[in-house]
Symmetry: D2
Amino acid sequence: MIIVTRIGVTEDEVDQIRERIEAAGLRTHISRGETHTIIGCIGDEERLEHVPLLSLPGVEGVHPVMKPFKLAAREFSAGPSRIPMGQVEMGGETLVVIAGPCSVEGEDMLVETATAVGAAGARGLRGGAYKPRTSPYSFRGLGARGLELLARARELSGLPVVTEVMDTRQVDEVAGHADVLQVGARNMQNFALLTEVGRVHRPVLLKRGMSSTLKDFLLAAEYVMKQGNMNVILCERGIRTFETATRNTFDLSAIPVLKRETHLPVIADPSHAGGVRELVAPLSYAAVAAGADGLMVEVHPRPSEALSDGDQSLDFEGFRELMTRLRPFAEAAGRRVEESNPSAVA
Amino acid sequence: MIIVTRIGVTEDEVDQIRERIEAAGLRTHISRGETHTIIGCIGDEERLEHVPLLSLPGVEGVHPVMKPFKLAAREFSAGPSRIPMGQVEMGGETLVVIAGPCSVEGEDMLVETATAVGAAGARGLRGGAYKPRTSPYSFRGLGARGLELLARARELSGLPVVTEVMDTRQVDEVAGHADVLQVGARNMQNFALLTEVGRVHRPVLLKRGMSSTLKDFLLAAEYVMKQGNMNVILCERGIRTFETATRNTFDLSAIPVLKRETHLPVIADPSHAGGVRELVAPLSYAAVAAGADGLMVEVHPRPSEALSDGDQSLDFEGFRELMTRLRPFAEAAGRRVEESNPSAVA
Amino acid sequence: MIIVTRIGVTEDEVDQIRERIEAAGLRTHISRGETHTIIGCIGDEERLEHVPLLSLPGVEGVHPVMKPFKLAAREFSAGPSRIPMGQVEMGGETLVVIAGPCSVEGEDMLVETATAVGAAGARGLRGGAYKPRTSPYSFRGLGARGLELLARARELSGLPVVTEVMDTRQVDEVAGHADVLQVGARNMQNFALLTEVGRVHRPVLLKRGMSSTLKDFLLAAEYVMKQGNMNVILCERGIRTFETATRNTFDLSAIPVLKRETHLPVIADPSHAGGVRELVAPLSYAAVAAGADGLMVEVHPRPSEALSDGDQSLDFEGFRELMTRLRPFAEAAGRRVEESNPSAVA
Amino acid sequence: MIIVTRIGVTEDEVDQIRERIEAAGLRTHISRGETHTIIGCIGDEERLEHVPLLSLPGVEGVHPVMKPFKLAAREFSAGPSRIPMGQVEMGGETLVVIAGPCSVEGEDMLVETATAVGAAGARGLRGGAYKPRTSPYSFRGLGARGLELLARARELSGLPVVTEVMDTRQVDEVAGHADVLQVGARNMQNFALLTEVGRVHRPVLLKRGMSSTLKDFLLAAEYVMKQGNMNVILCERGIRTFETATRNTFDLSAIPVLKRETHLPVIADPSHAGGVRELVAPLSYAAVAAGADGLMVEVHPRPSEALSDGDQSLDFEGFRELMTRLRPFAEAAGRRVEESNPSAVA
């Protein structure tokens, strides 16, 4: 922590600031400039968390030096984390594409989708059983029945299942059926939920909140990891800005910045970022080109009949074309895309 | 719902769009312009929710006509709602100021604060027992013990207690101790929590999410109201923008816009909006001038020793001065500020 | 300037950083913490402007200590600046309201408006002769003829005239007719124009850019002042955010923050910030409550016939009511509102 | 234009709205729904620009149907525009990379850079003679001398020159030396400048404003085109959002959205979007993968000595590596990257 004092700070004020810092167990280092005096704090910055430094007389600014996240920081791990997801690993050489419907609407459509996306090269199946919806009047998912259908689809397709959990009370239930627990953008700072998913033995796919900085995002991952669950996958899905031409503003730079800051895998959700079908492909290519470890894509057998997010879902033909056209981009980025899923096509 | 078609839309496409709408149970009204054909949908727009209109061939844009919130809409109520809060009503002629520490840190500081703010004219006591913190390493509140202390402070001061609930599993416990349940900005779209607080018989103070539009905000209130709990108080506390000179950007216009759109009371939280003590007073005056029904202000006996938010907390003297200087603004806005709290000073 | 090094920085890297700083003529002060070494730079920070510090090996972050603006900084002036505007001063005890049409549309409407707003207490007349419009197909003002009409309206009403200048080639022409030169939000970082208006002897009313931080805003004022023209009036008019319920997001906090950072007067434009007539009054009250030195309000004899911004213009009756209801707020804020303009009512 | 009326609108109000629209020369089409009446306006929407529809009694909302830009719209042109730039065309099959220093600092560094980037495959040379700088105390370019050096570098390298123009008075001078006139982000809504560059016979490279929507951006292009200059190249360079981890937020989706909306070529500036050297490569790959027609990249012989933007400039080795690694991404996107510039290496 570095404390910059106001022009005209008095010796007494500097002394009082120093005393507060030293009382918290840190050492100080005073550096007098022409107009400002700077106080460096040496030791564990966390101990200063309770000290309202900005309120002390004479303080103009406070600059943290240490990153507030630790377990998520790149320095914490010898190399990039590889997170097991069924027969593949997220974060390894293979580009992992997770695909499936926004919501589980029924058994047939789910099995049909799982088979089709697996055959096209997807390595995970997504599908919402519990759905967060902005309006209480929207379709909110099949709930427990949806979870059972997902487990059934996994059995038939061999694809590990990713599904969202929205309530601390559902964590065990969802963890009993799914391979990866998704925490949605709107719950990224639902700290009770983050804590609870940190206690189970399932990887967590954490989506970035609409107004979360990357620092907030990594601190949310830290909440999960602090409970002992180190298997967190970060997912960029667009942030909220003034631009209305797209549903969200896809923050592509988040991918390389996160890859630099953390050892956790980073994937992108081009469906929610763009909000319309025709943007899914260009955003997917771009995410992979920028270094993403994977993608999560909405696919529906008949998008024009989908109960939610039909506008941004690909149909099977569209998904197959995406996977085919994605391959050279993935290879240019040093990634491998597997041809097809043998379990699925069997 | 109004559907605008693309230039060059074919008759077949228009027919297909019309069929989808009529299949959902609405009537259509076709209007052919020089370049575009417009299809008006007459009937219950909600039935179109499952129809991915933007995906249909020939559709360029979709404009909803009806507001997505109903119970929260101004038209739903004969006049502004008045929500009982102890001996006062939020939404009536009296400006209701809720004050207290960010976190409950102990009995003495809480009782001391309750007494002081009550004596200065506050009509509610705030204080966090369960605290949402961006970092898992920050102080996160006293929990159950904090709730007991709040109940004790209410007894002594006569002030109704407002405190945050963060987890569906805590709703009953918090409702057993508090007069008003606060749902924080980070949980504004925690739909499981909104649903759960909608089931209890306590007013809910709902804070606007950092990246929520006013429409999202009213839909979050609608979630609570749909469960039968009509007593929702809306709180503007700043949104996230590019400006870094303040902790958040206080969206003052939200106050008059919400007063126009809804019958629910609207208050402001100048402490979180500005993030520093010296902004609390000007933001408070402004909020009241713009028509706010109340304020929620952080007050601590010794801000420089606060365990959280010390930088933005007023001390007792500061709060008394705020209340005194607030009076003429409140009167100019047609509001009454009560002199003092007889229970508190007794 | 404070330089924070990366974890594991080498002695050699620290030496190279130090050499670059000392080569620029500053002294350094090294402070070694447990994980980071911090290098304080003592001397004129501007000399470091050409040194790409972030690119030097071992550098993690750079924190400026000195404010980049000087002439605009509060410390530069013994007290708040008072800027002469006709018979009043902007920045003094009197709240100065500038009113008039968005565009000058003709002589009659302008004189009629000047007389009416003057009689209601306005102390300045606004009106656009050259209009910046987002679309090239919109009405763009009467140009030179508009300037003449403004000069004529000043003669008849006694009100000083504020009008926009958009092109370096027009500065002399506009300065020949107007009392105050307005630089619009879209030109806030048109540095050629800022430099040019800095060379004339007319106060400049500088509107905040839609995506300008307050630091950018003060640096734009600094551009004008650096040319010798110290008479700059800052105008908050809303920033661009994700919220679409209002035309712009009125950043009310900008008023008290600017009053703390600079000696220049600060006014608000509630018409552009809100974008609709019914928001003009609450935003005006709030701006004055928060400490604004003045307001700029759009008024038109018949808003429903205005050639531009009719939706946000008040009619004469609306303006009179605003001025009447504004008085108690202004008084609560320690400001005086003058009763009426004797020249105008004569 | 579609007008939605308020619940409870009267027949009289509907009649008055209709009369105003018909008085402007359009026809109307009334559609009565269960709660709202909708008025479709048939004819030239521009004629309604002066009618403040939102102010008319009974109006709740106004939805434009026609796009406000015409010359820039995709429908205006039979296919994508190809804009001549020296020996190549921007918007054709070849990916056009423009490279060079932020500022022209002297003859040697400029010629050295032109030769190096040309040899590595660049097809245009960038370099600022007139520089917009946020602070008036920063280096602002060599001016006229810089233009001469650019012309000299073109002669030696064979690369067409792109340089910024900031003032209407400089347009002829800059057009006399440069092949492409750049209008910077801060001047994107400097309408006087847009008009002036529309009058010369040089392609214009228009950078997106920091808070400009894509609609604003296309309207700015329309300003230039309306003067007769159809050769406009659009450049995405990042927008301003709450995220501070990057200098700007690179709005990648802007590329495919613009390619859909307009026939004009679209390029990206990864240097300004990311703001640090290590982001230039991933953002470049992503932009090309998403369909960009070209890139503009800052390159400096010795970035650590650059007078501006050193932190985000590549050195020659970095640029060569970028060009090499870019090739497979460009090919995957159906683009050609030329091997080298024969004039340059000669």
